[in-house]
């Protein structure tokens, strides 16, 4: 009896165990075979995290390696409205930290969404608060933000990058593909706490490469001098705006480019596009008498005029094509050099007529007018240079004195640079090197000659004439003590859009020139738009040339050709 009871218990136990194993086996088959695909996906989703990595945007430095623009990782704050217990309380706490109104934050946190941005790209100091305090449903992610540590310095040339790190203006836009960091999507394994873990055979994840570093031809000290003097001149003349460019005539490399008023690319809100437009490239203006420097080069090269050719000044007025051209003073017989030095419109018109429509047009084209200079900056205008077929009877005279033609400051300074360097038109450029993260040069931009425009002899003759403009003519205020300066003043009437005729009260005053005249290191243009009161280029723009030239030559260590000489004992140095 007892034996049969024990046996039946064994059977029961066996059945229970078999049943148990059967259940386990069934569950195992269900999980491992029947639901295998679905569960694998689910597990991967929990263990794996797909992250999109992006290398930092490249840095922009000046010719001496001074940082002009660079990226910083800064905190951005987001909310998960479904996880926030009390939107009103969270908004009240966050408002003073994020500097956003509480009701605005509360409104965002009450939205029926899984994710909302509360504040993006904060200052690093603001992010420290979130290291100490945690609020349910509020999170922080790090994002790259563009910083311009020098503030408004070089703002018109640098441009700026947008909220998502894409270049929108200036160098930032032109070199977008070089500046952009590497973008990569990668899958990381993580544990229950969300920490990244390494599985066997997994390669160590390399950080994505940052964008390339741009080395500019600009010198931040020269840029500062230019901006300071230009701002002062615009303020003194109560002018609408001002533009100045400094370049090396032998290479075409830009040393400075400034617009006034300036803007701070770190603070762009409430600024109109008009404020950040780079007028040196985008705005064409009638150059007025500065064009006579180019006319002189063409007339002398074509042997239509020599510096000592006599021209009659018609005592200040000359009729042409049923209109009358006036000079600012009654002039009689003049040499051609004096025509330029005294800025005689009548003398210039006669030289232009002697040269002829076609040849004048060809030279203006050769000097780069009516076409882009191809500088490595966006938004460049071509200016306005009509084909001689559409010229009127007065056009040749008008163009000779800088009317009926539109040029950009960049075109004009490049053209004067060609006279300065002995007759070669250079391509202006602003980026000299592109380097990678390992500081290896990926691309080097070298000076590029576009074409020879005039002979070195003509360039020398024109330089002597332009020196006369400063020593004996209208550009006396551009003179720099101890240096020979060559240049030309310009005072152009603006066209009144209401009447379509030249305005009597709105002018563009300019000065373009180079220094030292015998071995030019700097070619510069100063353009002041709508100065109030005295508007002559010689009075408004030439002094800026003088002040900038004096300081920049001193900074560059260019010594006067006539230094004081001291005798020293032989052998000592």
């Amino acid at each position: 009896m007892a034996v049969s009871l024990r046996r039946s218990r064994r059977y029961v136990m066996l059945l229970v165990l078999l049943g148990g194993f059967g259940l386990v086996l069934f569950r195992l088959v269900t999980l491992q075979v029947l639901q295998a695909a679905e569960l694998t996906v689910k597990a991967d989703r929990q263990h794996q995290k797909t992250v999109s990595l992006e290398g930092a945007r490249g840095t922009i430095v000046d010719r001496n390696g001074k940082v002009l623009a660079m990226n910083l990782e800064v905190p951005s704050v987001f909310g998960v409205p479904t996880d926030v217990d009390s939107p009103a309380k969270a908004a009240r706490v966050l408002s003073p930290v994020l500097h956003v109104r509480a009701n605005e934050l509360e409104q965002k946190l009450r939205q029926d969404r899984r994710f909302v941005w509360l504040a993006r790209k904060l200052d690093p100091e603001q992010g420290r608060w979130f290291e100490r305090t945690q609020i349910e449903g509020i999170g922080v992610v790090m994002e790259g933000r563009r910083f311009y540590p020098k503030g408004p310095l070089l703002s018109h040339l640098l441009g700026f990058a947008g909220m998502d790190g894409q270049g929108l203006e200036g160098i930032e836009r032109r070199y977008e593909s070089d500046l952009q960091g590497e973008k990569r999507v990668t899958v990381l394994q993580r544990d229950a706490k969300g920490r990244t873990v390494f599985s066997k055979g997994q390669q160590a994840e390399q950080a994505p490469a940052p964008g390339h570093r741009l080395v500019l031809t600009i010198d931040e000290v020269i840029q500062y001098i230019v901006e300071k003097e230009l701002d002062n001149a615009v303020a003194r003349a109560q002018a609408k705006s001002g533009t100045m460019i400094v370049l090396e005539p032998h290479s075409g490399a830009l040393l400075a480019l400034a617009g006034s008023p300036r803007f701070d690319p770190n603070v762009l809100s409430n600024l109109s596009p008009d404020r950040w437009r780079n007028r040196a490239l985008t705005d064409a203006y009638e150059p007025g008498s500065t064009m006579k420097a180019i006319l002189a080069a063409a007339a002398i090269e074509e042997r239509v005029m020599k510096p000592d050719t006599l021209v009659f000044g018609e005592h200040g007025s000359m009729a042409i094509a049923s209109t009358v051209i006036h000079d600012h003073e009654k002039l009689g017989w003049l040499t051609f050099a004096q025509v330029i030095q005294k800025s005689s419109n009548i003398g210039a018109a006669k030289a232009g007529i002697a040269l002829g429509d076609q040849r004048l047009y060809q030279y203006l084209q050769a000097f780069g007018f009516g076409a882009r200079t191809e500088i490595d900056l966006p938004g460049e205008a071509t200016g306005l240079l009509k084909n001689p077929k559409s010229w009127g009877r007065r056009t040749v005279a008008s163009v000779s004195m800088g009317q009926e033609v539109g040029v950009t400051p960049m075109q004009m300074v490049t053209a004067i640079g060609a006279i300065a360097n002995g007759g070669q038109l250079m391509k202006p450029y602003v980026v000299s090197e592109i380097r990678d993260a390992q500081d290896e040069v990926k691309r080097q931009i070298l000076p590029q000659v576009r074409r020879r425009v005039i002979s070195p002899e003509t360039a020398r003759a024109v330089t002597r004439i332009l020196e006369g403009v400063v020593t004996d003519g209208t550009g006396g205020k551009a003179a720099i003590s101890g240096f020979r300066v060559a240049g030309k003043t310009g005072t152009a009437q603006k066209i009144d859009p209401r009447t379509g005729t030249y305005s009597d009260s709105k002018f563009v005053s300019s000065f373009v020139g180079y220094v030292p005249a015998d071995n030019p290191r700097l070619a510069m243009i100063v353009v002041i738009d709508e100065p109030q009161g005295e508007a002559w280029g010689g009075a408004v723009a030439a002094p800026v040339f003088n002040r900038v030239g004096e300081q920049v030559l001193s900074y560059m260590g260019v010594s006067s050709p006539e230094p004081v000489k001291l005798a020293m004992a032989a052998g000592r140095s």
Binding site: K66, V67, L68, M70, N71, L72, E73, P124, M142, F147, P149, K150, G151, L153, R195, T196, V197, F198, K200, A204, E220, V221, Q223, Y224, K228, S481, G482, E550, Q551, S554, G557, S559, S560, P563, V564, K565, L566, A567, M568, A569, A570, G571, R572, S573
Partner: protein, 110 residues
């Protein structure tokens, strides 16, 4: 012999387990160091921006003029001097340029 084989087998099992555990441990260590590196790089970049802002020419000019009472040299205060050896033989060395700043009393603002 059998005991030895069992011991070796057990050792291999422990080695395998230890390798896996250590890999995870080192993985966490690598991750922590990477985070530390990121923080240090972030701090370095912040300092770089700060240095760049502090060395801006307009700030230096402002500090020099307003706090230190300095002023840019005026016309005539810098004289470039070309030093030449005396014409007495033997002639040695090339002419050397010296830049001399002429010291004149300037009003110091404080």
């Amino acid at each position: 012999m059998r005991l030895l084989a069992m011991c070796v087998g057990l050792c291999l099992v422990f080695l395998f387990v230890w390798e896996r555990v250590d890999m995870v441990r080192v993985g966490y260590q690598v991750e922590r160091l990477k985070q530390e590196k990121t923080l240090l790089e972030r701090e370095r970049d912040q300092l770089r921006v700060k240095v760049s802002a502090l060395s801006a020419p307009d700030r230096i000019a402002k500090v020099a003029t307003e706090r230190l009472g300095m002023a840019p040299p005026q016309r005539g205060q810098i004289i470039v001097v070309q030093a030449e050896p005396l014409a007495v033989p033997p002639m040695q060395g090339a002419p050397v340029e010296l830049r001399i700043a002429k010291h004149e009393p300037i009003a110091v603002r404080r």
